[in-house]
Symmetry: C2
Subunit: 166 residues, 2 copies
């Protein structure tokens, strides 16, 4: 194995390194959410609103059930925040074309603006981290995180191949 040839212990499986992985995830998530939380508070919204706005922006005309599958919360929980966002005109609903039971969700201009404002900060943060770490590190970051995501959802992250593509 690598360690025999190179004199490296398989450190990446050691307890300490694993724990650091857990903690990195905790600290990164903690700090990553704190920025938008402040903005959301100005609107009287919370993190749940951010998630809804984000994924509706990301998948225009998403249905309620698809959104529920992403968020993994109950419809009652979603209903509350979604209802607010619709009433306050950040999101519009319209019946599906093929299936008129569906409510296709879409951001209004107001919604797009808020989404931009919220996610811009996070993207900036991520961009800085990417830049500082370098392209190769980003590949690794993606690879490991993808391994932590449930099989079923990995398809959401199309591979771009190793580092470079045409």
């Amino acid at each position: 194995m690598t360690d025999v040839k190179t004199g490296i212990n398989p450190l990446f499986l050691r307890e300490e390194e694993l724990r650091q992985g857990l903690e990195l995830l905790f600290f990164a998530y903690r700090d990553f959410t704190s920025e938008p939380d402040a903005i959301l508070a100005e609107y009287g919204f919370g993190r749940a609103h951010h998630r809804v706005i984000y994924f509706v922006g990301r998948h225009p005309d998403i249905t309620v059930s698809d959104l529920l599958e992403i968020l993994r919360i109950t419809k009652q929980s979603l209903s509350r925040v979604l209802g607010q966002l619709v009433r306050e005109k950040f999101i519009t609903q319209r019946p599906g074309l093929k299936d008129r039971r569906q409510r296709l969700l879409e951001l209004t201009e107001k919604g797009v603006e808020l989404e931009r404002q919220l996610t811009e900060r996070q993207r900036g943060c991520m961009a800085r981290a990417y830049r500082e770490a370098g392209g190769e590190a980003v590949e690794g970051f993606r690879k490991v995180l993808l391994g932590l995501v449930e099989e079923a959802d990995r398809g959401r992250f199309p591979s771009r191949g190793p580092i470079r593509r045409g």
Copy 2:
């Protein structure tokens, strides 16, 4: 720049890639916490208890204030879960030696056992992801995540140098 020489766009800064980063973090965190949540529920505990148990296990004899700084919650919030854990004998408190106002926190045997049970799953999950991604990817994972962590807390993650060390 790289793109001129190699024909690569600086893709790692593109909107799409940044968004995938945000989402990877969301999905990974979502799935990463769901495992222990089930176990915690059996004890009538929640995620907050896990965090306390984890960091007390990680830093034996940690003080309440140090724990508060890690968790970034109010002492009232901590007090509730910590109180439960102490009453149910997962954690012991004893006055500090130098400063007797402090309450040094430590896991009991029962606490160690629960911590192990909870974190074992997560470590297993992380180990699998590490193994599948490879050592180099793990370095990248660490690098990027560290860049997302607030300056002040980066010292918690001593660098092991680039991939290999003696």
